[in-house]
Amino acid sequence: MKIYINGNAFELPHSAEPSHIDEVISKALPKNQQQQSFALALNGNFVGREDYHHTKVCDNDSIDLLFPIVGG
């Protein structure tokens, strides 16, 4: 299964059951990245942290992880 995180393609092993966001994060991101403060959108729609474990991710889905940054 191919997914995109911040525009970068990630190949994940196919499984019988669709993956959920928390599984994708644990497989696609390094540990230190997982522990950082971020907010997430799936295909342009916000997904709250409490929903990661039951929100399914499908082939060619796009995840945006956004991090705090300076701003005016």
Binding site: Q33, A39, A41, L66, F67, I69, G71, G72
Partner: protein
């Protein structure tokens, strides 16, 4: 006197950005020197393998807590209501605030807000419980529409972001102040000099939000102090009541009992 943002009283009327400073330490000193209690910040993508934003996040949290202040996340870079709404929701979760500086950009050249998308996003975010601080142009009708939707705070631009051109259309801004006397009006973007901020306050604006004018100064910390002083002077002038401009000259010195040299007929 205090600035009120959706019921939250603030002692400083200056809101300050966290971008463009030469170093984090200068940013911190500048924010403290400005006296501002509201600091803007944003959310952006990072390459998953790149340096994290956690260091900045912890740093800015410490500064804001030290000032007993508040974070004001923005939706910079969004070009549609949908993008802005998604980013606002992400900001609320991460920054734990329902304040949002709502930016929906309609033109890449001057970064002018898109009024149509801004109104759509504002309506939906207010309905979702956000306290929206919309960044808009100095268009009176757009400001009226935003106020009618329920925005207690409205933030028209002085001039395009980062230009430092100051108040492009004082007449428009004065009209907005006059027509929306109960709205909290914060002049946002385009401020270049402390005198710009002073003029805004003299006009009766409730506050000023800026970033580049301080961050890009040769000495940002000193410039932050200058802005704080200018804001205070402008606010005092507004409260004191500025004299009416007059078309003709009026002598300041009393003209009664003029001395002898104004009576040439008596000399010989």
């Amino acid at each position: 006197m205090s600035l009120c943002i959706y019921g939250q009283a603030l002692t400083s009327r200056l809101l300050i950005g966290s971008a463009l400073y030469p170093s984090p330490e200068v940013m911190k000193k500048s924010i403290v020197a400005s006296g501002s209690q509201v600091v803007t910040l944003s959310l952006k993508r990072q390459n998953p393998l790149a340096r994290s934003g956690d260091k900045f996040w912890r740093y800015i949290q410490a500064i804001v807590q030290q000032n007993q202040g508040f974070l004001l996340p923005n939706t910079a870079g969004c070009k549609s209501a949908k993008e802005a709404i998604t980013l606002a929701k992400m900001s609320r979760e991460l920054f734990q605030t329902d304040w949002i500086k709502l930016e929906v950009i309609g033109d890449d050249y001057n970064l002018q807000p898109d009024p149509v998308e801004l109104l759509i996003a504002t309506e939906q975010l207010l309905a979702d419980g956000f306290k929206v601080l919309p960044y808009c142009t100095d268009d009176l009708v757009i400001c009226q529409r935003l106020y009618a939707l329920g925005c207690q705070v409205i933030m028209p631009w002085a001039s395009p972001i980062g230009t430092g051109k100051g108040l492009m259309n004082p007449y428009n801004l004065a009209s907005i102040r006059q027509r929306l006397p109960d709205a909290t009006l914060i002049l946002d973007a385009g401020i270049g000099k402390p005198s710009d901020a002073c003029i805004a306050m003299e006009m009766g604006f409730d506050g000023v939000l800026l970033n580049s004018a301080i961050a890009l100064a040769d000495n940002p910390v000193l410039m932050a102090q200058a802005f704080a002083s200018a804001m205070s002077a402008g606010e005092s002038a507004y409260i004191a009541g500025i004299m009416q401009e007059r078309q003709t000259a009026h002598a300041s010195t009393p003209t009664l009992d003029r001395p002898f040299w104004h009576h040439p007929e008596q000399s010989s």
